[in-house]
Symmetry: C2
Subunit: 517 residues, 2 copies
């Protein structure tokens, strides 16, 4: 008898539901093996292992696809959805079944020909994109990008359902289930305009803070020890996780009890390392806080809601906490202890200001907390226009450069520094970019509520106490798994739908003082 | 079209063979995922990951069992074995098919009830054994060990085939395919008597060498760097492998291009660490030297012959190379460089003697190169007698202690230090122990041939040149995969069947001088 079946007997859950949960458990377990395989590839795999690793990943992907599209899931879902006792939206099972249906439909809606054609086109487009970026040659990328975008539209058509208004929504649904482009636009547009104005004001009237001391040489081992100390204080349980080093930081929650974070170090870029570490720790805390009900592992109830909610957790610890004066009240002395007094001549105000710069620049992944959102919103508008057919691919560079000037006030010097900088579109990743800014918006809105509900939060943080904050996220976000959609979650947690005001207030309150405004 | 099919077209191999190879490729690939999962469990997995890891391992084991017993393999094997063109024993395909048949029969011969009962009994017996060993209470272990042994006999009955003379052979066949207990006895008995006499002579007439300097404190990081330098010089390709740290050292060849070795360090036990590292490197070099024919990964042709041959590779580098004066001529200055002159007052002779002690002791895993074989042969005789029904389980302690006195001249003080010390029997591992001494015997016999064929080997080794030695093992052992059995391999490589003389000559030539004889 399986775990879910044992549990079911105690709760007298019907067999069609427990069998479904057992199939999900096996699917989740194989998924956790895939997660380990991917983690190892980035952390410890020797270079020579790449070929065998590709075989392993491809075999596991095939097995996982078989599990996700197993017709038995469809049969059991039909039985569960016809079972009124199970479908109470206020129970934990109703939402679990609703989300399993969403996943199953998504997995079975794509014809295998389309999947294969898209995989091939993506692989080719990526190779062409690399060369095009190196040579600053957008025209050579047009045919490949056109193919990928056409197939991506076809994919979107297949994925369309009642909850989608336009093709873009169907793609967005892969990362932000239940959200629509209209909803996002409603928040992004006011944010975009206010943020552009804010950046222009800083440029015209502000004095950028001194930051050179952040880039002194600090040994990588010492940065690692400091990062572990900070994240352990945040509440990351190192008996149930790790922190390793990779080129691109990430966090992977294999399963309850095993969450792997990675970060990167460079001797002269301490803020990048500690920022990445706190960011991934936010993801890690979410993974560690997901429900652990026995027998339900692998079902939506024990999974994360969406990328935008996941990102809210990483951004909150990285930015709301990690760039605050309260945090550095505690962390600066700790850093000086770890780094042999590297910052001993820097006062708290000077240090905090240096952590809160906002300067327009060309490359998204190198940009600061404020301008980052403008990079994202520009991409959202352009990819939506391409998908709608309102923007021809050949016209992408001009549209990019015009918007870039509008949003960030800079003239893009060339396409390599412009519309060719990201890999995403060559991979057909449309609908993914907005989740970054959704993360910032969610985080800022939660942050205001948290500070209302925990009035002495700053005092706690300045004393290195993060328990009340973590408890709030556990109770309002983590413990629900996918029970509520992202929109429902933010509204339940903060009492209002997602808006642009909290993020603007947050950025202004941090960056204005840093620029002497 | 798959890799093997592509290759087949070029070579016009029949589809029943290439399809078989493709099934083996998938089986080998899933096996390599399982190897990664196990490696991670010992190296980097946080403690909290244990529960999910058990689910992962059990799911993978189930999938692997399904692959190994897939009836399609049986159909394809029938077709291949009826295809005269394929079955030429002098081709590479004939032996590949022969070994696939061996594996398939082994996998399909065991009734699933028996497998389940054995797994349950093993798990229970292991728990009981742990307590019994702690409490030095053999009687409490008798019922559990009896159950495991009865089921193991049943398993042996199922696995019996034409090439087996007795039940023991069927179990031995899991680790040493094609070998028999009679063959092993024929070599072990003379070795046992001569080794016992030799150990007694050392005790009566020899002067144990000074070893205290080997146990001075040496920082673990320095030991690690030295171990990597030595194994890189041996020829281990670190672009296709790693060296990590675990409680129990092991080596796992995931696939071509990815071989993971582990070792252990203690600040006061340098010889244990470097011995373990060189040992695992021998396994690693074998794995890295296995055939890499495209499309044949996962078939017997690209796999290791047997544990006894695998162990010969580890023992050769650990003992024949790693305890020799020639090796330390090169390695002692290197060690002094890594360890800030820790051995600068020790001359080469004194150092080499310290690496070649032989002193009877009670615990197998702590014993030296010579006495180790007596520990193994004692277990071989006892487990064979139990399986034959010649030794009742209740009489095991007395039989153990009597033999121990005979072989090693010591009175066993209690069962915890005696017949309860190893986990193997609680796990039904019968036929496994002899492979350790087979490794030593194979290594010593190869070593004599190698020295005949490379007359200046000592000079090369003293100069830190290991290429000719590695080349010999690549050509005579590694490149053949499972094309020949262990007995055929040693006879092809050395011109004679396995015997006890080379190992005795090797031990005497090393240990006598160390004891001033």
């Amino acid at each position: 008898m399986t775990t879910a079946q044992t549990q079911a007997q105690a709760q007298t859950l019907p067999k069609h539901y427990t069998e479904l949960c057992d199939l999900m458990h096996a699917k989740g377990t194989l998924g956790s093996v895939m997660a380990l395989v991917s983690w190892d590839q980035e952390t410890y795999m020797p270079a020579g292992g790449a070929k065998a690793r590709a075989d392993q990943s491809s075999l596991l992907a095939r097995l996982m696809h078989g599990q996700a599209t197993n017709p038995r899931i469809g049969e059991l879902l039909d039985q569960c959805q016809a079972d009124n006792d199970l479908n109470d939206p206020n129970s934990e099972h109703g939402p679990n079944i609703r989300e399993m249906r969403r996943d199953y439909d998504k997995a079975t809606k794509l014809p295998s020909d389309l999947v294969a054609n898209l995989a091939k086109a993506q692989s080719q487009a990526q190779d062409i994109w690399k060369v095009a970026r190196t040579n600053n040659d957008f025209p050579s990328f047009i045919p490949a990008l056109t193919t990928v975008m056409d197939l991506t539209k076809e994919k979107a058509s297949c994925l369309m359902s009642d909850e989608h208004n336009e093709l873009y929504d169907a793609l967005l649904g892969e990362y932000e289930p239940g959200s629509t482009a209209d909803e996002i636009e409603a928040v992004f547009t006011p944010l975009r305009d206010r943020l552009s104005a804010f950046i222009a004001e800083l440029k015209d009237n502000g004095t950028p803070p001194k930051v050179d001391f952040l880039h002194q040489e600090i040994a990588v081992e010492k940065q690692h020890a400091f990062g572990k100390a900070v994240t352990a204080a945040f509440g990351f349980d190192y008996s149930k996780g790790r922190l390793d080093t990779t080129t691109h930081p990430f966090c992977s929650g294999f399963a309850a009890g095993d969450t792997r974070m990675t970060t990167r170090y460079s001797p002269n870029n301490f803020p990048d390392a500690i920022g990445s570490t706190m960011h991934e720790c936010g993801h890690g805390l979410y993974e560690q806080g997901l429900p652990k009900a026995t027998g339900l592992f692998g079902t939506p109830l024990t999974s994360a809601i969406s990328l935008g909610i996941h990102e809210s957790q990483s951004r909150m610890w990285e930015n709301m906490v990690g760039r605050s004066k309260a945090f550095w009240t505690w962390a600066l002395p700790l850093a000086n202890k770890h780094f042999d007094g590297a910052f001993k001549d820097i006062d708290l105000d000077t240090f905090t200001k240096a952590m809160n710069t906002a300067t327009p620049s060309f490359i998204r992944v190198e940009s600061d907390e404020s301008t980052y959102n403008l990079h994202v919103m520009l991409r959202f508008e352009l990819e939506r226009a391409m998908l709608r057919g309102d923007l021809a691919i050949k016209d992408l560079p001009e549209a990019w450069n015009t918007k870039f000037k509008d949003f960030l006030g800079l003239d893009v010097p060339d396409d390599a520094t412009g519309c060719l900088q990201d890999v995403h579109w060559s991979f057909g990743l449309v609908g993914y970019f907005p989740t970054y800014t959704l993360g910032n918006l969610n985080a800022a809105q939660m942050w205001e509520t948290i500070n209302e509900q925990i009035p002495d939060l700053d005092t706690q943080i300045a004393a290195g106490e993060f328990g009340a904050l973590l408890k709030w996220t556990r109770e309002n976000i983590h413990q629900h798994g996918r029970r509520y959609t992202a929109s429902e979650t933010i509204e339940r947690a903060t009492g209002k739908p997602l808006g642009a005001d909290p993020l603007m207030r947050h950025l202004e309150s941090r960056v204005r003082p840093a620029y002497g405004l």
